[in-house]
């Protein structure tokens, strides 16, 4: 290991023609050329790793950006929205004092590879997004989709996913107040695990991610950094790239909910004591994303000493440290005079906190490793100026046939025994049967504010014990509708979630979504995506509530076959007094039944 020379900026300037594995890292020829142009030289290994991560579909939204704009353009004016798309999570004002922040995110692929850890770290990740806004997370929800219920792989994946969602959320002490479980063969090789979290914050407690104030200290807090989730970047160690080195680089992350719980308590103490200037969670793109986004959004720079990062394995190289997806870490920007207080709070909770650098006014993120400069980049080129594609769209060729195959052509039951059979079949079908095998594995009582949870249509949580103020949330999608008509299907998902919230007596106020689709490079998938986004944006315009944030998950497919378009929509509602909520089910004998609508 020790004979590996670090690819420094100096080295990159001296060896301009060295071949670099940018294709293996998922960068296109023209993208690589643009990086060389931005830097005026070839990127170092570390820089190449950073660009490949930040310009990936997952981080740059390069295929979806042009469509997602509609959410902003069509959004009705809302004076409740304190932060919207572009932040870690949208923030909605509830009254003069209280705001909430909420978001839904996917962790699909990892949950197929290692169901328990994949699902667990999915919950951990969305909770950190909420935490980064300045909020105390107070609930989770999960929307799950699997292949056929009787398929052996479903029997492997489903129990692990449910145990993972429960294991992490229960251990964090967050009540699970609702979600979905669906089965369809299209998810056989690609189950969907979407997790939502919501947090509460004081209106004046909103945290910013900007790395403002040259001279301020950059502090990394939480778990040690290991070789988690850097499978892709491992090609950079090409000199030593063999089976063994690949083995060292797990692409699965293992979660530590206990560490996250300590991180939550420490963060909330830091926020309350007003000890920090900026905060960013470390998610999929690890330090790379946290450093460049905080600097870019402030228009500042940073000098980072990478060897100060606490490592789980001493032999890690700079590009590995920068790409690591180790969980349970947060980045803070701290004024020098407050550093001791920050480190003191971390120590109280038994969490490692390490100053790793300073904010500068250079407009460059410079990263050294034992004195050698390994990164020197303008942060905006990574965080904001990634590639943007208007990909070709084409209506799927089979859509006409699918749409022609209408329910009217199905045989109708003519006898009562046939009706009975149909009813029994429905009751027993995995998509309609009782969900308590799943929901019983989730703690819905912790924190003592859960007013409604399973089997209700939406979850309701009290925010204020004195006034009874609370929020209602529902997470819905019917992907079979979306397959038949992604525009109407997305609208229906929105309408369902909206109705589920409204029937409890809550006023729907905001939307989050998780858009699960196949490959954006397939024009028919891209068409489905564009239609679904248009549907949600139009629906929100008609209903008068904004989309405040969400997540796009592409490449959900097995071989050439994509999953059904699955735009999962979450609607947030407000209840002035949760004691007035209307649960489902009949309350008293003698009550009158009324059917509204056609």
């Amino acid at each position: 290991m020790n004979d590996i020379t670090i690819d420094s900026v100096k080295n990159a300037e001296a060896t301009p023609d060295e071949l670099q594995p940018y294709l293996e890292l998922g960068l296109k020829d023209d993208e690589y050329q643009r990086i060389r142009q931005i830097l005026g030289r070839r990127p170092t290994q570390s820089e190449l790793a950073m660009y490949s991560i930040m310009w990936s579909e997952h981080c740059s939204y390069k295929s979806s950006k042009v469509h997602l704009r509609q959410f902003g353009e069509k959004a009705p004016p809302s004076d409740r929205m304190l932060a919207g798309i572009g932040e870690n999570a949208g923030v909605i004002q509830i009254n003069e004092k209280i705001a909430v922040t909420f978001k839904v995110e996917s962790h699909n692929h990892p949950s197929f590879v290692e169901p328990y850890q994949g699902a667990a770290t999915g919950v951990g990740g969305i909770v950190r997004d909420i935490l980064a806004m300045g909020a105390r997370p107070i609930l989770v929800m999960d929307s799950l989709r699997f292949g056929a219920a009787d398929h052996p792989d479903t029997q492997r994946v489903l129990p692990g996913v449910v145990a993972g969602v429960g294991g992490y959320g229960n251990c964090l002490g967050l009540p699970n107040v609702g979600g979905e479980v669906f089965f369809d063969e299209c998810y056989q090789g690609n189950p969907l695990v979407n997790a939502l979290s919501l947090g509460v914050l004081p209106v004046d407690g909103l945290q910013r991610k900007e790395a403002d104030g040259p001279g301020n200290i950059v502090v990394l807090m939480g778990a040690k950094t290991g070789r988690d989730g850097i499978g892709g970047v491992s090609v950079l160690a090409s000199a030593t790239f063999d089976d063994e080195s690949q083995q060292r680089r797990p692409s699965v992350q293992v979660g530590d909910p206990f560490m996250e719980k300590l991180l939550i308590e420490s963060c909330l103490e830091l926020y309350a004591a007003k000890l920090i200037v900026g905060v960013q969670d470390l998610g999929g793109a690890g330090l790379t994303c946290a450093l460049t986004e905080t600097a870019a959004s402030a228009g500042t720079g940073m000098d980072i000493q990478l060897e100060k990062v606490h490592l789980r394995e001493a032999s890690m190289e700079p590009h590995e440290i920068l790409a690591s997806e180790s969980q349970e870490r947060m980045l803070f920007i701290v004024e020098p005079g407050k550093l001791d207080a920050v480190l003191g709070i971390a120590q109280l909770w038994g969490v490692i906190a390490t100053p790793i650098g300073v904010v500068t006014d250079t407009g460059r993120v410079r990263i050294t490793f034992h004195g050698e400069t390994v990164v020197d980049v303008p942060p905006g080129s990574l965080a904001d100026d990634g590639p943007v594609y208007a990909r070709p769209l084409r209506e799927p060729a089979d859509l006409i046939l699918l749409q022609a195959d209408r329910a009217e052509t199905l045989p109708r039951p003519h006898h009562d025994f046939q009706l009975k059979d149909t009813l029994l079949k429905l009751a027993a079908s995995p998509n309609l049967c009782d969900r308590s095998w799943v929901t019983e594995q989730y703690d819905r009582y912790v924190l003592g504010n859960t007013v409604l949870a399973q089997p209700e249509d939406s979850g309701i949580v009290r925010l204020d014990e004195e006034t009874g103020l609370g929020v209602a949330l529902s997470l819905d999608c019917n992907s079979r509708f979306a397959r038949l008509d992604p525009y109407e299907g997305a609208k229906l998902a929105l309408a369902e979630a909206y109705r589920n919230v409204a029937v409890t007596g809550a006023e729907p106020v905001a939307v989050t979504d998780c858009l699960n689709f196949g490959s954006p490079e397939d024009p028919s998938v891209m068409w489905q995506f564009a239609e679904a986004v248009r549907g949600i944006a139009d629906g929100c315009q008609e209903l008068g509530i904004p989309v405040t944030g969400g997540n796009v998950s592409f490449y959900n497919q097995t071989g050439a076959v994509a999953i059904h378009p699955t735009p999962v929509v979450g609607v947030l509602g407000v209840l002035e007094n949760t004691a007035q909520r209307i649960p489902m089910g009949f309350s008293h004998t003698g009550d009158v039944l009324v059917l509204l609508g056609e």
Partner: protein, 228 residues
């Protein structure tokens, strides 16, 4: 006003709920911190539910060594009422303040449901407001709530009236002899797997039956003060 202390370990989760329940019952609540051995003059202590230290090794195994636990163990031996709920029950067993152990649920899953219990013994500091045989509805939620002990211990518990509550209409975790709660010989230390603190408000719980545990200890403390 009697003071009830609620301990927070790193990883405690239901500490706020236990405090709320004690407050609703009319107690003055004092929050205790795992690293501080001082009990700050409390009259009784609640060890709340949660995953202390992540519960990674065995539930309660690490919490048992917290500085506050030494003081609590001494106080408990001296007669102070101590209630361990869920993780708190596990800690009391690990600390040998109660016999037996809590192991992985037999079906291997975490289970959260509203659970009926029968109160079997109302002579403890924490159950004197119930009548023996009373059926109560309290949420249960645990992954390792299966109570085990050797047969002799179980027989002794049985004979000595130390089984304080049993699961009825279904055993949620495979617990021996349907045990949901036990007490020490003196009756001041109670371990219970279900969560009384989640059944104290009509809006958020399945019943108000949980309040009985807290009003019991307040009565116990008031009686003790009157007798002194």
């Amino acid at each position: 006003m009697s003071k009830i202390g609620v301990v927070t370990f790193p990883g405690s989760l239901d500490d706020g709920d236990a405090a709320r329940a004690a407050r609703i019952s009319g107690a003055e609540v004092v929050r205790l911190w795992h690293a501080d051995p001082d009990l700050h003059g409390v009259d009784a202590v609640v060890l709340p539910g949660g995953f202390s230290y992540g519960d990674y090794l065995r539930c309660g195994a690490i919490a048992r060594f917290a500085p506050v636990m030494e003081t609590i163990a001494d106080a408990a031996r001296g007669g102070m009422p101590v209630l361990g709920i869920c993780n708190g029950f596990q800690i009391l067993c690990e600390a040998h303040l109660l016999p037996g152990a809590l192991t992985r649920n037999q079906h291997l899953h975490f289970r959260n449901r509203d659970q009926w219990l029968r109160v079997e013994n109302s002579s403890t500091a924490w159950t004197n407001h119930f009548t023996e045989g009373q059926e109560i509805l309290i949420p249960v939620k645990n992954g390792e709530g299966c109570y085990v002990a050797d047969r002799r211990t179980l027989d002794e518990l049985e004979a000595g009236g130390q089984i304080v509550a049993r699961y009825i209409r279904g055993n949620p975790n495979g617990s021996s002899r349907d045990i949901a709660a036990i007490r020490n010989e003196a009756g001041n230390v109670l371990g219970i797997m279900p969560h009384p603190e989640h059944a104290v408000e009509a809006l958020t719980g399945p019943s108000l039956d949980g309040l009985g545990f807290f009003s019991s200890v307040l009565k116990h403390l008031a009686d003790a003060k009157a007798a002194a």
